[in-house]
């Protein structure tokens, strides 16, 4: 029985894990929604994607995925056994597959397996076998509950579940839903509350109007707005884009405050709770007019806001502004208009339309956020936070989103880009002042590229860690290789064996920069590779050097990649998404 059990268990886990490193399809049986590729005029179709040059296809694929802090590795996108000079694309239906997968939910078994693979599970002492799964993410801080969402985002297969988690995180960093941890009246529970609310709402395809309506009377929203009049003012600004500019708008705010005047937030000593004020009349105490509607209570004000014609355009605008930062006002307006015209109902509708819009994927060029850049790269490099020793997740995950007494350059709050902190959410443009940018550069160069090597494969867990353990067992999760090496070794992955050194140089550039090395860079890196014996000239063919020594030190591939990545980290273009043809 035990053997049958573990086999079934592993089937689930490995079935999940096989999906984990590329945009593979979750179980269709557990799906929801229409699960069709997008067909709007403003979104990129598979045929339009196919018309791009192969390297641009790869760049665009990673632009889409890295927006969600994910990436696709070159050795999955291309058939590297055929080299890179004339790349052969192995994922022939990538864009429509991706669009479909983001609309396809995992089955409950898959979700459980994904959860266990991410956070681990302990052994069941009532059975003879070891059923424990070591956590992929081991160093999570309860004061920063969004770290658990980031762990899911990183580890769940590309699916609607992963997408919902990312959308929740994204929205919680906008002015519309920020838990504003920087404020005295908020705490980490507000982060949990907002992320949980958004995840559950979006997961169940709740219409945007209802998501907003439900949020307006939430304690965490009140902890940010804090008084009835400001609650009304912020409702109008955040969800309608009405900025109290005119006497009429100011009167709406004043009247909105009156409508909510029988609610108040207790003070610090009473824990900032939202309570009805028994000393005030029920409701507004009088009929007041807001946006031409007569209302008698705060609930009715919420209805007015959630039902307002400007709500969907405003929500769309807030999201578009992040993605099209740096694009012209006309370009932004056109996309907003196109999306609003498509009558979006859910957040899925808007995010899918924005991420897969031609104006974003093909034409936009804007600074990448640290999360987009670092995790896009790491995911394109088969990274693992779960090493065979010295777990890497503290360096590559926890420290990024730990804003308490953390002065490390890898922490996003030191780049003016804190998660969950700001009352006004993250700005729709990335802070690129000298201090923020220097921190960004230092963080990505030292922590992501050079020091921790979460991607090369040498420290990736290997089957032997379990099969040759004192109490041997099959690996409880799928073993996967790094960017260069077979898991736990310095043996080159079979799919890279046929690459020449110039092709390997291109591989690094395409993965990190979305373009090939140009002639000058090829020449310089070949020369440096030869000088440092990373590259061997075998009868006129440049190959990665194989030492024929100890299997642990068979290749210098990681060292060679590292010097190139150091160079790449110093290029201004590395910090930007590029447009096709740019």
């Amino acid at each position: 029985m035990a053997g049958v059990y573990i086999k079934g268990f592993l089937l689930v886990v490995c079935g999940f894990a096989l999906l984990g490193c590329k945009p593979a399809s979750p179980d269709q049986d557990g799906s929801q929604g229409s699960r069709k590729a997008l067909s709007y005029d403003h979104t990129l179709s598979q045929s339009e994607f196919n018309a791009l040059a192969a390297t641009d296809q790869y760049m665009v694929a990673n632009k889409a995925l890295s927006s969600m802090y994910r990436g696709v590795a070159a050795d999955e996108f291309f058939d590297l056994t055929k080299g890179l000079d004339n790349p052969v694309i192995s994922q022939t239906n990538f864009i429509s597959d991706l669009q479909t997968q983001l609309q396809t939910s995992m089955s409950s078994d898959q979700l459980t397996a994904a959860y266990n693979d991410t956070f681990g599970t302990s052994d069941n002492p009532s059975t003879d076998i070891d059923e424990s799964i070591p956590a992929r993410f081991t160093s999570l801080d309860d004061d920063h509950p969004h770290q658990r969402y980031m762990a899911r985002m990183q580890n769940y297969p590309i699916s609607r579940d992963q997408f919902v988690t990312w959308m929740s995180y994204f929205l919680a960093n906008t002015i519309m839903f920020s838990p504003a941890r920087e404020m005295e009246s908020t705490e980490s529970q507000d982060i949990t509350r907002v992320l949980g609310y958004l995840k559950l709402s979006i997961e169940s395809s709740t219409p945007i109007r209802d998501v907003v309506r439900g949020w307006l009377n939430n304690l965490s929203r009140w902890r940010v707005s804090r008084s009835p009049e400001n609650h009304a003012l912020e409702m109008f600004e955040l969800y309608l884009g009405i900025f109290n500019d005119t006497p009429e708008e100011q009167q709406n705010t004043i009247n909105g405050g009156i409508a909510c005047n029988n609610w108040y937030l207790t003070d610090n000593s009473d824990g900032y709770q939202l309570l009805p004020d028994p000393t005030r009349p029920d409701g507004a105490g009088a009929t007041v007019q807001v946006f031409g509607q007569y209302i008698n209570s705060c609930d009715e004000l919420y209805d007015v806001v959630a039902g307002h014609a400007l709500l969907i355009p405003r929500v769309t605008e807030v999201i578009v502004n992040y993605f099209l930062d740096g694009s012209s006002s006309e370009t932004k307006q056109a996309l907003i208009k196109n999306i609003v015209s498509s009558s979006p109902s859910t957040f899925d509708d808007i995010f899918l339309s924005v991420i897969f819009s031609k104006s974003y994927l093909l034409s936009s060029q804007r600074p990448k956020t640290f999360e987009e850049n670092a995790f896009g790269f790491l995911n394109s490099m088969h990274y693992t936070p779960r090493a065979d020793r010295y777990p890497l997740d503290r360096a590559v995950l926890r420290r990024v989103w730990d804003s308490s007494n953390n002065s490390l350059p890898v922490a996003v709050h030191n780049m003016g880009w804190a998660a969950m902190d700001y009352k006004i959410g993250r700005t729709p443009f990335l802070p690129m002042d000298v201090l923020s940018f220097a921190t960004y550069h230092k963080g990505i160069r030292e922590y992501i590229f050079l020091n921790h090597l979460a991607y090369d494969g040498r420290r990736h867990p290997k089957a032997e860690d379990f099969t040759e353990a004192e109490v041997a067992r099959e690996p409880p999760f799928a073993i996967h290789n790094g960017a260069f090496y077979v898991a736990g070794t310095e043996n080159l992955k079979p799919e890279l064996e046929s690459l020449t050194a110039p092709e390997f140089i291109d591989l690094i550039f395409m993965t990190a920069l979305g373009r090939r090395a140009n002639a000058e860079e090829q020449e310089a890196w070949l020369a440096e590779g030869l000088r440092r014996t990373y590259v061997t000239d075998k009868e006129g063919v440049y190959q990665l050097t194989k030492t024929n020594g100890d299997a642990e030190w068979e290749y210098f591939t990681d060292d060679f990649a590292r010097v190139m990545l150091d160079y790449i980290s110093r290029l201004p273009e590395f910090y930007y998404y590029r447009a096709v043809g740019q």
Binding site: D267, A306, A309, T439, E520, R562
Partner: protein, 504 residues
């Protein structure tokens, strides 16, 4: 309203009020295009002494009450909630103070001799007024754009203009004015007895201690040289500009050579990634510079100068230290970190007075620090600072707040606020200098009794300024004789805004 009515309303409004989103923003952007200042129209006289300005911004918009209890009896009589209740501020809020002892600030009457709030920094302000180190302008009043929105109000104050989208900040306008009139600044005396040479040789002229500040937003119409753009620093002069890490052995030379060659070849397309280019250029400069500055904070402070142990005081200390030791730092932006923000919709009862006290206590120490530097402090150029009366500190915020004490123990947004301004007797114009030691402007309460929407407005015979007048005054310190030009916006504010001096 029943649920079905809400749904009916949603569809009805959708049908009748389909306003193209972004219309307002688009219109503002258009205005911004037209409003880019014509810097060459500014007339500049060489300053007799180069000023150094530290602008401290109270994000969230502070209540004016710390600096203005002159209407308190009337305010309390009309407030929905009683200020003098024990659960609020106690009966002392309505009574004159009997002493000016910071140690007894919570005791007894709270209205000081100048109508300040004793507990809310009033004792420190009274001290600074007595010493002639401070003025309080009680009528910084937003009328031209009465918006009570944070974003718009913050941008207006940081940019010194009503035209907030795509327009340059005060620091950038100042820098562009100086660039256009560089000859007027050549030879201008600095506070250590040296003179200003080429602007391109200035060390750290524009600095932000509050991150990416709108005060240094660039002018899309006018290129500002990299050396005059705002730099960001943290309050410990930390140095993330160095490169370390598990490095690449002796490949550094290969990397540098290739990089140099590549950047040279693609420099024509610099504008595509300009912020990263600028960041790398500045990184190189700051890598060494920050090592020099770090030691300044380790030096002993003058006797009797001891900053409070708060985040804000540390940031202020860093800004003042930089100003003292580098007279070439001309303009700095500072926030009020660690004080919790000034958007006191709730809990103002518990938080606001102490926060104001912490702020004013730190500023008082900063003024002592500045005054002790003359004839003593060594500057980065190896000279001794000769003057300390060129450093101006301004403190203001988004806007003011209503005076009705709301049900959550706070105040909502309103349009009248105080400007607290300190020091700078050597660079201010005549009447402004004479106003040091004084409270300027008078107010009265307006709004319907026992409702939330009650606020102060300037008395009809009181001088009144827009927040943009702070910017206009700063340009004036730097020699602009027609500084309203730099705050003007076609159509909506064609005349611009006067200096403080002009209405005194």
């Amino acid at each position: 309203m029943q649920r079905r009515n809400f749904l009916k309303l949603a569809s009805a409004m959708a049908a009748t009020r389909v306003v193209p989103v972004g219309f307002g923003m688009g219109a503002l952007a258009q205005r911004a295009y037209a409003a880019s200042p014509n810097y060459s129209s500014v007339t500049v006289q060489t300053p007799a002494l180069m000023p150094q300005v530290i602008n401290i911004f109270m994000y969230g918009g502070a209540s004016e009450l710390a600096g203005n209890l002159s209407n308190m009896l009337d305010i309390n009589m009309n407030s929905m909630n009683d200020y003098s209740a024990n659960s609020a501020f106690g009966s002392g809020i309505l009574l004159p103070a009997e002493d000016n002892d910071p140690a007894l600030r919570n005791n007894g009457g709270q209205i000081t001799a100048n109508g300040l709030w004793k507990r809310a920094g009033g004792t420190h302000m009274e001290d600074m007024l007595s010493a002639g180190d401070m003025s309080i302008y009680r009528t910084l009043y937003k009328q031209k754009s009465p918006t009570r929105s944070h974003r718009e109000s913050i941008f207006m104050s940081h940019k010194g203009t009503l035209d907030i989208e795509g327009s340059p900040g005060i620091g950038s306008r100042l820098a562009l004015m100086m660039t256009q009139h560089e000859s007027s600044y050549t030879g201008a005396p600095l506070a250590d007895g040296t003179t200003l040479g080429s602007l391109s040789e200035l060390t750290l002229p524009f600095v932000s201690f509050e991150g990416d500040s709108q005060t240094f937003a660039l002018d899309p119409e006018n290129n500002l040289p990299l050396y005059l753009r705002g730099l960001t620093m943290d309050d410990q002069f930390n140095n993330p500009y160095t490169r370390s890490g598990s490095t690449v052995g002796d490949s550094e030379e290969a990397i540098s050579n290739l990089l140099q060659s590549r950047l040279q070849k693609i420099s024509a397309s610099r504008s595509q990634h300009s912020k990263a280019w600028d960041g790398f250029d500045k990184r190189e400069e700051l890598s060494q510079r920050m090592a020099d500055l770090g030691s300044l904070l380790e030096a002993d402070l003058p006797e009797g100068v001891e900053y409070p142990n708060t985040s804000f005081a540390r940031q202020l200390r860093s800004a003042v230290t930089l100003a003292i030791h580098n007279p070439q730092t001309l303009y700095m932006a500072v926030g009020t970190p660690g004080l919790g923000g000034w958007d006191d919709h709730n809990n103002g009862v518990d938080e606001y007075p102490d926060r104001m006290n912490e702020l004013m206590e730190a500023v008082k120490v900063a003024m002592a620090h500045i005054k002790a530097s003359a004839g003593v402090a060594q500057t980065l150029t190896g000279n001794t600072r000769t003057r300390s009366d060129n450093i101006v500190i301004n403190v203001f915020g988004d806007f003011g707040r209503l005076v009705n004490l709301n049900g959550s123990g706070g105040w909502d947004h309103a349009n009248n606020q105080n400007l607290y301004t300190f020091g700078g007797a050597g660079v201010r114009p005549t009447k402004e200098t004479a106003a040091l030691g004084s409270v300027v402007g008078t107010t009265h309460r307006e709004g319907t009794s026992k409702t939330n929407n009650q606020y102060t407005v300037p008395d009809t015979d009181s001088p009144t300024w827009e927040p943009m007048s702070v910017a206009s005054s700063i340009y004036g310190y730097f020699g602009a004789t027609n500084s309203p030009i730099l705050t003007a916006t076609p159509i909506i504010n064609p005349e611009g805004d006067v200096r403080l001096e002009d209405l005194l």
